[in-house]
């Protein structure tokens, strides 16, 4: 019976797509679990180093580190962390939209922007924007290492120390929970000191060994690295979560579509049968 041939092929092709999206959903779910563990594992380190930096900003060192000094802002550096692959819902576009609001604000204030990107999506986006790209890394994969991002961090820190940029920001997605990822823009440099317990107020300073400059240089570099690294693993977890959700809704949509098409197909088939019967009956009556 030739009824609804097109519908049948359409249904089977949607079923194939559904198989793929369902497989991707499951892969993303298992990857998400791993990336989430990694994200949680790096948190203690960045928390502790953040605490030290906070203490340090409240000390009264004889050596004022350039990373603590506020300057008049003429040019800012931006590190944008995105995913390498698409098919993860609005994750990257939300991130870029947030970045754009900052960019337009800076443009209004006549502040120029240097950009370093992590991930192919960001480098694609910013090369279309014709921003001043000074560094990029991509294809980091699911197990990021600190070595992967040391390069761009060094570029940015050198630019800051040379006075080429006066502030440094990092943009990435923050993992709130599996369903929610929030794009965030965080200021890295100059280092902003947060609130601190009363105990530490008053005039005091650390003993530095071997000497203040060397220790602080080392410490601040580590601090920046740990924040950017934390951003990277967090963005990774976000990517997998977003992909899982996106693929789940794609599978659900495919299921709905199949149901609807099946209904149309059944109706067409029934109509054809009814018509055939009435033709036969009419033919028999005529004889």
């Amino acid at each position: 019976m030739a009824v609804g041939k097109e519908i049948r092929t359409k249904i089977s092709s949607i079923k194939n797509t559904q198989k793929i999206t369902r497989a991707m959903e499951m892969v993303a779910a298992s990857k998400m679990r791993k990336t989430k563990d990694r994200m949680q594992a790096t948190r203690p380190y960045s928390k502790r180093i953040g605490r030290i930096i906070k203490h340090l900003a409240h000390a009264n060192p004889e050596y004022k580190h350039p990373f603590l000094v506020q300057r008049e802002v003429k040019r800012v550096g931006l590190i944008v962390i995105s995913s390498d692959r698409g098919l993860c819902g609005g994750l990257n576009s939300n991130l870029f939209r947030k970045t754009l609001t900052y960019l337009s604000q800076w443009q209004k204030d006549q502040i120029e922007v240097d950009v370093c990107t992590v991930g192919t999506k960001a480098s694609g986006f910013f090369s279309i924007l014709k921003s001043n790209l000074i560094g990029q890394v991509s294809k980091i994969g699911d197990t990021p290492h600190l070595q992967d991002i040391v390069g761009i961090i060094t570029i940015m820190l050198d630019a800051y120390l040379d006075g080429k940029i006066d502030e440094l920001y990092v943009v990435n997605n923050e993992f709130v929970n599996t369903m929610t990822q929030r794009p965030t823009v965080e200021k890295l440099l100059p280092v902003v000191a947060g609130e601190i317990d009363e105990k530490l107020s008053g005039h005091w300073d650390y003993i530095y060994e071997p000497d203040a400059k060397e220790v602080l240089d080392h410490l601040f570099t580590r601090y920046i690295e740990s924040i950017v690294y934390q951003g990277l693993v967090e963005n990774n977890a976000c990517e997998q979560a977003a992909r899982m959700v996106a693929m789940k809704s794609a599978s659900d949509n495919a299921g709905n579509l199949i149901k609807e098409l099946q209904l149309v197909y059944n109706k067409a088939r029934q109509a054809a049968i009814t018509q055939e019967i009435s033709e036969i009956v009419a033919g028999a009556a005529a004889v």
Partner: protein
Amino acid sequence: MTMTIHIDIVSAEKEIFSGLAEMVFAPAELGEVGIAPRHAPMITKLKAGEVRVKINDKEDHPFFISGGILEVQPHLITILADSAIRAKDIDEAAALEAKARAEEALADKSGKIDYATAQARLAEAVTQLRTLDRLRKRGE
């Protein structure tokens, strides 16, 4: 009741130790330091070696770190280790192998291998082995 101080040891990958101790020994860059409660605030770089956390007279925990930063506040010690392992988890075979590999790299003067990296690796392996040795002696 003796005085105690809170100590946190974290590496980039995970939290290694967190708790109270009577005294902490760490391999600072200018020589080994021992930190007791109410030490003056201090920040120093650490080199590869053994961090020893003395909980009380009977109990202490050795850790191996490959370098890092030590922060001391009167009631709080933070050690940010580049990589830290509980000394008893050091794999002797792996350490020996690493040592052999580093020595090989140093012997190979063809210039293909980064000399400084090889030397650092060798130092790391040797300290790991030394920590193990000390641990074993104490165990006997």
